[in-house]
Amino acid sequence: MTRWFFLLLMLLISTWYLTFTATRLDRLHHRVETSWANLDVLLQKRAAVALEIAHSDIADPASSVLLTAAAYQARDADIQNRSQAESGLSGALGLLLEDSEHLETAADSALLTELSALTDKIRVAIAIHTDAVARTQLVRGKFIVRLFRLAGTAPLPITYEFEADVL
């Protein structure tokens, strides 16, 4: 009798643990998706602002060409080349901003303020996204998760290497 009771208890506990872990994993997958969508939107916005800067008086012709190329590359990059393209854009923007501090008219400084506000947000968004990805990978690596296929058909999230220091 006791043995059956014990078995039942074990079964209940393991069921609870499995659903608990499945919920946890589901939440993590959801966060990976939403944080990526959010980051993607912000990066697109940044590319748009970069193009605007390229067409404004802030950029001299040479940097304008460089910036336009980088912005288009970032926009069109597929998922594998995305982080590299974005880093390229960060670099191009960094180069430009370094020596444009002295020439600021009202319209230009509005653009630059928008860019720096965007950069702050992107930094936070990157932190949230990379953290969600790392967490998900960690939990999915657990033996129990792999054994019971708790992740289902959700694809394993990919780590993006963002060079946060360039931003």
Binding site: F20, T23, R24, L28, T34, D120, K121, V124, I128, D131
Partner: protein, 392 residues
């Protein structure tokens, strides 16, 4: 600056009516957010229910437990858990901001009970403890629910990565820099003077280091005076001072915010000899904003805040001789004092609430995107969803 009005729930783990850095931080943040047009509700335990501001919701009477080398007044247990759940389900919050969610308190309970956008701020800095092997696996799934983590300093971030293996965004504690910007220079506090503010009875505040350093300082600067401000009973400290030097110490008791600003503008050198247990050092930020020339022990939090000596002088922690050396050098060199305090004052603007709250708000914004409102986690559990299917 703030584009959309949000409903924010903040959880304070410590008793609202005991003084402390976390409570001050939450009070200032809540008031700043309310002033910028957000709806804020703070859930906090309190000993006395009657004196709470209208944005604070009482969670119950706290219990005192020893934690991290001090007594913490926190609250947990089944009744508190029910209270937390009620607050969350009635609050209809866009976002929860939990403070110190890794210690046993209503913050951890909220983290456990809620589902949705949550931000956690980690204040404490502590050395790695063995106990974490036991409690880590329990905390991990809860801490993981936070969409973003904030650490108040590099020291707090390292504690977090050490203990729970997750990273955090560093956003410093805030001060109202403008309140300290216009302190008047009081004659009674100026001259060859050293200032100290804090609960001097606590050994970790390090007043004893300054007491031991004074004989040496007095030999080189015979007219030196030390002003100690802060709550506490000075008798015991006075007894520990060499009778010949007792007249050089003056205990001012607790001083008001305005007096603090005057104090910082008047004293020649402000000394913070803390021996540890400090994670950010808000008093140093205030001292810098008030234009004081700061001398601090080189514990990680202070070293970080003072830019490795760029915005204030550092000395080897717990070494009275090193402290004396640095103070004497500064008392003799007016120019160096002025350079340091000017650099410090500029640096302190980084800690102004206008800057800090904007950074915190960015994190809020990024956490909210794509998520629904905060609700109870139990509503979304699979079996409950399954059971409730028929109702819909």
């Amino acid at each position: 600056m703030l584009t959309r009005s949000l409903k924010i729930g903040i959880v304070c783990p410590y008793s609202w009516d005991t003084p402390g850095g976390v409570q001050n931080h939450i009070r200032d943040l809540a008031e700043f957010l309310i002033a910028s047009g957000h709806e804020v509700s703070v859930l906090a335990p309190a000993i006395d229910e009657s004196n709470l501001p209208n944005y604070v919701v009482h969670a119950g009477k706290p219990i005192s437990i020893p934690y991290n080398g001090a007594v913490a007044r926190v609250l947990f247990g089944p009744v508190a858990f029910a209270r937390v759940r009620q607050w969350i389900s009635q609050g209809d919050f866009d976002l929860l901001h939990l403070h110190e969610p890794a210690i046993p308190s209503i913050s951890l309970l909220s983290c456990w009970a809620a589902d949705g956008p949550m931000v956690g701020t980690f204040h404490a800095a502590a050395k790695r403890q063995k106990i974490i092997f036991a409690i880590g696996p329990i905390l991990e799934p809860a801490i993981e629910k936070l969409s973003a983590r904030i650490a108040v300093s590099e020291a707090a971030r390292l504690t977090l990565t050490d203990h729970l293996d997750t990273d955090a965004i560093i956003i410093p504690n805030g001060i109202y820099a403008s309140r300290y910007a216009h302190g008047r220079r009081e004659e009674k506090w100026s001259g060859n003077t050293i200032g100290f503010i804090g609960r001097f009875e606590e050994p970790r505040k390090g007043l004893s280091v300054l007491v031991e350093a004074l004989p040496v300082i007095a030999r080189f600067a015979p007219d030196v005076k030390v002003f100690v401000a802060g709550p506490g009973d000075p008798d015991e400290v006075i007894e520990s001072i060499d009778p010949q030097l007792r007249h050089r110490f003056e205990f001012l008791g607790k001083i008001s915010e305005e007096e603090k600003a005057d104090f910082m503008s008047s004293v020649s050198v402000y000394v913070a000899p803390n021996t540890g247990g400090e994670s950010f050092g808000i008093i140093l930020a205030e001292a810098l904003a008030g234009g004081a020339c700061v001398v601090a022990s080189d514990i990680p939090a202070f070293d970080d805040l003072l830019g490795h000596g760029q915005f204030g002088a550092l000395f080897e922690s717990e070494s009275p001789t090193e402290l004396a050396k640095v103070v004497i050098e500064l008392l003799r060199d007016k120019e160096k004092r002025q350079t340091l305090s000017a650099a410090g004052r500029t640096h302190a603007q980084k800690f102004d609430w206008a800057v800090v709250a904007q950074q915190i708000y960015s994190v809020y914004e990024m956490s909210i995107v794509g998520s629904e409102k905060v609700r109870l986690a139990s509503d979304t559990r699979p079996w409950n969803r399954f059971l409730n299917k028929d109702d819909k």
